[in-house]
């Protein structure tokens, strides 16, 4: 079951990379966080780790519902252009994305035996690289913001899957980071008009 959810996680991330409309980007990001929250909940219920269940619910609630809504409201208020065109054209993206995927999977092969949840670590690393690609390939601010949030998602996935439960502190740190990022963006955007 987790395999299906992780497959969808990666699929929505890749769809983010191909989209050219801003609100569709936010929508795919919301789906991405939804699948991430479901993964956290599923693994949490399986190994009965309270911390992971709580963070799974928090992820679902915050990152899949509240933050996309806030982002949409801010983007509407500041009249940010809604058509985002990537700097890397589609022809090169089609080649580049599989190269990134294969490279990260190849990187992980020597240590496959270490993890209980087999190769989710390699998917988390490839999600990190794809999110960095999302930041690099757009020129406007708005996709870059969604790119940061996707980096946070990949960090969270790594935290869930690499070990059986992270120390709670770092997960809280990620959430604090997220909150401060949104606050910072609001205050920065207020003057950048």
């Amino acid at each position: 079951m987790v395999d299906v959810l992780i497959g969808f996680f990666l699929a929505t991330l890749i769809t983010e990379l191909f989209s050219t409309r801003l609100f569709k980007l936010i929508y795919w990001y919301a789906l991405n966080s939804l699948f991430l929250g479901l993964i956290a909940l599923y693994i949490g219920f399986n190994i009965d780790d309270k911390a992971m269940i709580i963070t799974g619910f928090l992820t679902l609630f915050l990152k899949a519902i509240i933050i996309p809504y806030i982002l949409k409201v801010y983007f509407l208020r500041f009249n940010i252009p809604r058509r985002i065109i990537p700097k890397i054209t589609i022809q090169y993206s089609i080649i580049l994305i599989p190269i990134v995927l294969v490279f990260t999977f190849y990187l992980i092969t020597p240590i496959l035996h270490n993890f209980t949840h087999a190769n989710y670590v390699s998917i988390a690393i490839s999600a990190l690289f794809l999110a960095i690609l999302l930041i690099i390939e757009h020129k406007n601010i708005a996709p870059k913001i969604v790119g940061f949030l996707s980096i946070e998602n990949s960090l969270f996935l790594l935290g869930i899957s690499a070990t059986d439960g992270m120390p709670m502190m770092v997960e809280l740190g990620i959430f604090v980071d997220l909150m401060m990022l949104v606050v910072v963006i609001n205050l920065l955007l207020k003057e950048a008009k």
Binding site: L107, E152, G159, G173, V176, M180, L187
Partner: protein, 459 residues
């Protein structure tokens, strides 16, 4: 021990009331007492950890913090700022210093990261205070680069934690526990995490390929920001780098040397030629800061611990002093080198500033001279018995050539600043600035006398 957190929090709280700047700097200077206390009493708990290395870095960064707070006294007379903005500066300065202190004392890698995050996010606001168009754009650029940097560091931290988890269970987040058991952790996974984390740290320190943002930021904001970056923030990052490389050495030394050398030499090459073409002080000092960071990491990785620590401490005293004295040097509002050191009624100030300016390129009595000599000795020592001896000689030769370009540039700047005049003869100097320069110079002279102590830190 927890008194060391008190002054930044007090500054933060006091910034909500009416600011009395001398009082603020007195509060800040009270941090020296807990710092010296920690220097003598080391401790280790599961969240915080102070050994000789950590307490030394803490002392250095505290001295720099005190110096910056002294120079903030004269800030509103140099730059026109509203009362609200001055309060904001102190507020963010408090958060920043608190974050960096947490990082330096951290044992748990997660706490280290949270401290860095406080520091990064508070400096973004400080850049915006200048309120010009350029400052807004630079604040955005810094936000992007800073967040990428600390996300990469967090990613690497999680991978390294999972590398150590099987052997150490919950303690795998601690620097101390990892360094004691470096034989038992999984090698390859730790290396991947280490590479990702160190790349994040290099990005934050301003290495290639993000090497232009640092200079742009420091140009676009007010001058103490540069001091904050190069003095305090870099000490927190470089401490993390030090601790992680000590662990990585036992796992795979040759990969470590190869990675850091190649990255450092490419960066050095680009930075030196960028430095050659700069036309104002702040850019010059930013690039020089990056160059010194490259040298520190090269020295540390080659095993020259004394050289690296001495160079680090000396740089942490020189660079903020130089940044803070650009308030003096650029008071004619013309960002050129010509005659910047001419025309002061008080003859003491030009002498002090030129001592700093010439000391940073390692002219003899300055500690940088000694550190560079010991550093090159360490670089040659590490390759003496291996196949790469000739390659290392070639590498040292390249580094020396690049450093000589830097030397030429600084001497050129000095000559232009002293021997040409820009016609303005009433340059003002404030007492607090003189005091700040004297403070940093005393710290540097103190450094000259503590070679033995620094030598004994890593033994």
């Amino acid at each position: 021990m927890s008194f060391v957190f008190l002054p930044p929090i007090v500054i933060f709280v006091l910034s909500y009331f009416k600011i009395h700047r001398v009082l603020m700097s007195l509060v800040a200077s009270s941090v020296i007492i807990p710092a010296i206390y920690i220097l003598t009493h080391h401790f280790e708990s599961s969240y915080f950890y102070a050994d000789k290395l950590g307490s030394f870095v803490l002392l250095v960064s505290s001295i720099v913090g005190i110096g910056i707070s002294i120079s903030l006294i004269s800030l509103p007379e140099r730059i026109k700022m509203s009362e609200k903005n001055i309060k904001k500066i102190y507020r963010f300065f408090g958060i920043f210093w608190l974050g960096v202190t947490i990082s330096i004392l951290a044992n748990n890698m997660g706490i280290y990261w949270i401290g860095l995050e406080f520091a990064t996010l508070s400096t973004v606001y400080m850049i915006k205070l200048n309120n010009t168009d350029v400052a807004n754009k630079q604040a955005w650029k810094y936000l992007i680069v800073g967040v990428i940097g600390i996300s990469l560091i967090l990613f690497g931290i999680i991978l390294m934690y999972s590398a150590g988890k099987n052997a150490l269970n919950e303690n795998a987040m601690n620097f101390y526990a990892l360094s004691l058991n470096s034989k038992k952790i999984e090698g390859f996974l730790f290396e991947i995490g280490f590479l990702i984390a160190v790349t994040g740290m290099f990005i934050k320190m301003g290495f290639f390929p993000m090497n232009l943002w640092l200079a742009d930021i420091e140009r676009a904001s007010i001058y103490p920001i540069g001091a904050l970056f190069s003095g305090i923030l870099e000490s927190a990052i470089i401490l993390g780098f030090f601790r992680l490389t000590k662990i990585e050495e036992h796992i795979n030394y040759s990969h470590l040397i190869g990675f850091v050398y190649i990255y450092g030499l490419i960066t050095l090459f680009i930075i030196v030629f960028l430095m050659y073409r700069t036309k104002d002080f702040i850019r010059l000092f930013s690039f020089s800061g990056i160059e010194h960071m490259v040298l520190i990491s090269l020295f540390w990785v080659s095993g020259g611990y004394f050289a690296a620590l001495l160079h680090f401490a000396a740089h942490a005293f020189f660079k903020p002093a130089l940044f803070l004295s650009t308030g003096l040097l650029e008071q004619t509002k013309k960002y050129l080198f010509k005659g910047a050191l001419n025309g002061y009624k008080n003859k003491l100030v030009p002498i002090l500033v030129s001592m700093l300016l010439l000391g940073v390129i390692s002219l003899p009595p300055s500690p940088m001279f000694f550190s560079e000599i010991y550093g090159f000795k360490a670089m040659i020592d590490v390759s003496k018995d291996s196949h790469y001896f000739l390659l290392m000689i070639f590498g040292v030769f390249i580094v020396l050539t690049l450093l000589s370009v830097v030397f030429y540039k600084f001497v050129n700047v000095y000559q232009e600043a002293v021997y040409e005049s820009d016609g303005n003869n009433n340059k003002k100097v404030y007492k607090s600035e003189i005091f700040m320069l004297l403070w940093f110079l005393t710290a540097l002279i103190g450094l000259l006398f503590s070679f033995d102590y620094i030598d004994g830190i890593i033994r």
